[in-house]
Amino acid sequence: MNSPQGFDLVDEKLTNVNPLLAMFNPAMPTKVTHVVVTAYMTAAFVLASIAAFRMLTGSKHVYHKKALFFTMKLGLIFSIATAVIGDFSGKFLAEYQPEKLAAAEWHFETHGEAPLIMWGMLDENNDIKYAIQIPFALSILAHWLPGAVVTGLDQFPEDEIPPLYIHYLFDTMVTIGMGLVVLSLIYWIGVKRGWAFIHSKFFLVLSVLSGPLSMLAIEAGWWLAEVGRQPWILRGIMRTSEAATTNNQVDLMLMLFCGLYIILGIGTIVVMSRMFKRNPVEQELKDREMEKGGVQK
């Protein structure tokens, strides 16, 4: 979708199709690794959240302490990997989808020594206000070098520019990702150095937030990837409006599916919470030890 290849388009007909070439397109390495690594990262932080939550609500069981240490360490590894691969994704975008990177970064004019813009607002003249600017960072993100020229939105026709609000999606994703690296790094060093701070209530609250925040980051990244490709569904070949179904009942079906997911969501919460209330981890561990004891005798 982002860098389609593996076929030729002759008179609106596909020829010379090569499925393997299509699968292994330039977008594939960075996209796949980024998605997989962030999924592992999110899983680690969600589990860390649960452990931290149980510790906050008063459980002194060593199980939760071990779980928090283990998942935070995994979270650290995978959040660093995410950042590294994210950097490669930036370089992929600069090469193959410069309009997405430019829109995400509000980079209107093509020039070198480009700063990375975090947050901020746009006024009527598309001037950036209240933003944090990191000098040279966008040039480095795009092409390794601080002086490198980064393609701006001025190189694209008006109707091929993705919506500019993706900037906030990008910032949400990056801010949360960086925050999680810092959080888990502090925790890890803290454990090694015996800092009391990491056992404080404040730090546990931050750890509880890490799971929901990483889910938010994944969602923001997903939206960035999809909205950032607009108006294309196959970049440079087919617009989303050309691909959409002509059926008029899409809205109704969307509502129907939303209803379904709400019902399933509520059902899952009810069933899961009932299940864990009836059989808490502490109880299960105790039962297991009993069983083991029984076997040994």
């Binding site: 596909l14 020829t15 199709v17 090569n18 499925p19 393997l20 179904t245 002509t246 059926n247 009942q249 899409v250 109704l252 079906m253 129907l256 599916f257 379904l260 399933l264 059902g267 899952t268 009810v270 069933v271 899961m272 009932r274 299940m275």
Partner: protein, 336 residues
Amino acid sequence: MNLEIIGISVLWTFLFGYIMIGSIDFGASFFNAYSLIVEKQHILTKIIQRYLSPVWEVTNVFLVFFFVGIIGFFPKTAFYYGTTLLVPISIGVILLAVRGSYYAFETYGARGHKGYALLYGLSGLLLPASLSIVLTISEGGFITMENGAPVLDYWTLFTEPLTWAVVLLSVTAVLYISATFLTWYANQAGDTEATRLMRKYALLWAFPLIITAAGIIVELRGHNPDHYEKLMNLWWMFALSFILFLLTVWFLWKKRNYGSAFILLVIQFALAFFGYGISHYPYLLYPHLTLYDSFTNNAMAISLIVAFILGFCLLVPSLYLLLKLFLFNKQYVSGK
């Protein structure tokens, strides 16, 4: 034999697999719900639940294979069927989700929720009905082209007797296939009471099945004479299928060879299903779409066939393992 024929044969086989396994599953859920209403759950629930839980996931694999395959091999079907079938297929997907969640919730907590079990049983009847609509639509006359886009005429569809004949056939077939299988399964488990009840259901649904099947042939004659004529050229397949049907019923009647009875039933349905499929050739959708004007390019077709063969190689051993572990394991079947 060209790639188009290989493609559609593979897909039709997968669809047949889905219809058989799915029918057992759908019907079992209906009998389960029915037994709750008439307070016979002490006879049936155990045997049905034991069969249902492990098989559910596999059922869907066949359906997914079919969908991926038909869009892959015949991309234009996405244009014609994808546009027009949004509503019926969405309803089907929602019903599938209801069934999936039933298994999940049943396993993790809300065991024995009566309302849910009834809903689940009802979905077992509604699903085949909503999915079988596709077969009716493929006969033509319901899809018109407006401004180059296909539009489904719901009014004609729902006032056409053929539609209801197909819906009835799908429901009776589901109940008949399922009851025959469960008779065998209960018999394997040594559960005489359940065997007796399922045998009764199987015999009860055998007659409606053959009536509705004959009804379709009659309706088709009026609706699509071209297809009807091709169907009649394959009369021997349907005749053979009918003989096998009689044999199955005879075995059931005589209370013996339940295993062979079910195998004959599978062959009976295979003959009818493939007879129907072959006579449908070359149309995927009368009269807009044939196999040949919708086929994908060669490279894609070959890689799809390779992928499907690999898929088969994975699916068949896992099916074998599943059958061995859950369905034909004497200890599991009889609940030990």
